[in-house]
Symmetry: C2
Subunit: 229 residues, 2 copies
C-alpha cells in the first residue's frame, strides 16, 4: 500500500498546468482563463486560483492584477538571470556535498553518473537530461539547509521547461557537460571544493549557452538590444 502525500485539487491542477506549460502545449504569453479552465476541469475557480499562485512561485506564469494569468515568456535575459542565481545557490550545494557526502551517497552518485555515461554513448539527449536532473537532485539531498532545497526545487519546473524547448529543437550539449559532471563527481571523492565549484561553473555555463540557443538568443557577440514584443 502506498500513501499519497497530497492530492488536493490545487495540487492536481498545478501538476496539470505545469505539464502543459513544460511540454509547450500552453505557449509563452498565452492567457490562462479561470472560468474556462474551471469548466474544462469540472471544478470551481477557487482551487484554480490557488494553483495559479503556485505556478507563479515556480515562475511558469505571470499574474497581473485584473488581467489574469499568462504563461511566462522565456527570454534570453531571464535565462541569464536564472543561471546566475542557480550558480550561486548550487555552489552552496556542492560545498555541502563535498563536506558531508558519505560513502553511501557517493555510491549513489557514482551509480547515476555511470548510467549517464551509458546514456551519453547511446546519444539519447532526452534520457541524458533526465538522468542529469536525477544526479542534481540526489546531490541536493545531502544539504541540511531546507530553505536552500526549497528555493532550488522551485526552479525545477522552469528548468525542465527550458530543457524541453531545447530538446524539441534538437539542441544538445552532452559533450561539453559530461566532462564537467565527471569532474564534480571526482571532486566529491577527493573533497576538492575549488575543483568542484569550478566544474559547476563550467557546467552551468554550457547549460546557459544551450538554453540561450533554445530560446533563440545565442550568446552575444555584438550587443543586440531587446525590443518590445
Amino acid at each position: 500500500m502506498t500513501f499519497l502525500v497530497s492530492d488536493s485539487l490545487p495540487d492536481q491542477i498545478t501538476r496539470y498546468l505545469t505539464e502543459k506549460i513544460i511540454s509547450g502545449d500552453l505557449r509563452p504569453g498565452e492567457r490562462i482563463m479561470e472560468a474556462h479552465l474551471a469548466e474544462k476541469l469540472g471544478v470551481s475557480r477557487a482551487p484554480i486560483r490557488e494553483a495559479l499562485q503556485v505556478l507563479r512561485k515556480n515562475r511558469l506564469v505571470e499574474l497581473v492584477p485584473r488581467q489574469g494569468a499568462k504563461v511566462a515568456p522565456l527570454s534570453g535575459q531571464y535565462v541569464r538571470w536564472l543561471y546566475d542565481i542557480i550558480f550561486e545557490l548550487y555552489t552552496l550545494v556542492v560545498r555541502q556535498l563535498i563536506a558531508q557526502a558519505d560513502r553511501e551517497r557517493i555510491g549513489l552518485l557514482d551509480a547515476i553518473l555511470e548510467r549517464i555515461e551509458d546514456i551519453s554513448r547511446a546519444g539519447d539527449e532526452q534520457a541524458y537530461y533526465n538522468a542529469r536532473f536525477e544526479y542534481a537532485l540526489a546531490a541536493l539531498e545531502v544539504t541540511d539547509n531546507l530553505l536552500l532545497k526549497e528555493m532550488i526545487m522551485d526552479f525545477v519546473p522552469g528548468l525542465m521547461r527550458i530543457h524541453h524547448v531545447a530538446l524539441k529543437q534538437r539542441v544538445g550539449n552532452i559533450g561539453k557537460t559530461l566532462v564537467q559532471l565527471r569532474k564534480i563527481n571526482e571532486s566529491v571523492k577527493t573533497r576538492d571544493v575549488e575543483k568542484g565549484v569550478k566544474a559547476l561553473r563550467k557546467l552551468l555555463n554550457s547549460d546557459l549557452e544551450f538554453a540561450l540557443h533554445a530560446v533563440g538568443e545565442p550568446p552575444r557577440r555584438g550587443a543586440k538590444k531587446a525590443r518590445q514584443p
Copy 2:
C-alpha cells in the same frame, strides 16, 4: 497628485499581517484563522487566503493543508540557513555594484553611509538598522537581474522581523558591522571585488551572530566564522 501602485484587498491584508508579525503582535506558532480575521477586517475569506499565500512566500507564515496558517517560528537553524543564502545572493549584488555603480549611485551610497555614521555616534540602534536596510536596498537597485532583486526582496520582511526581535532585547552590533559597511563602500569606489565580498561575509556573519542571540541561540563554541570564498 500621487497614484497608488496597488491597494487591492489582498495587498492591504498582507501589509496588515506583515506588520503584526514583524512587531511580534502575532507570535511565532500562533494560528491565524481565516474566518476570525475576515470578520475582524470586514472582508470575506477569499482575499485573506490570497494574502496568506503572499505571507507564505515571505516566510512569515507556514501553511499546512487542512490545518491552516500559523506564524512561522524563528529557530536558530532557520536563521543560519537564511543567512547562508543571503550571503550567496548578495555576493552577486556586491559584484554587480562594484562592476556597474556610476558616480551618482556612489554618491547616494556615500550619503546614506554618512547618515549611518551619524546615527551610530548617537547610538540609536533602531535608526541604525533602518538606515542599513536603506543602504542595502540602494545597492540592490543597481542590479539588472530582476529575478535576483525579487528573491532578495522576498526576504526583507523576514529580516525586519529578526531585527525587530533583536532590538526588543537590546541586542546590538553597531560596532562590528559599521566597520564592514565602510569597507564595502570603499570597495565600490576602488572596484575591489575581493575586498567587497570579504567585508560582506564579515558583515553578514556579525548579523547572523546578532540574530542568533535574538532568537535565543547564541553561536556554538566550536563554530567557524568564515568559509572558503
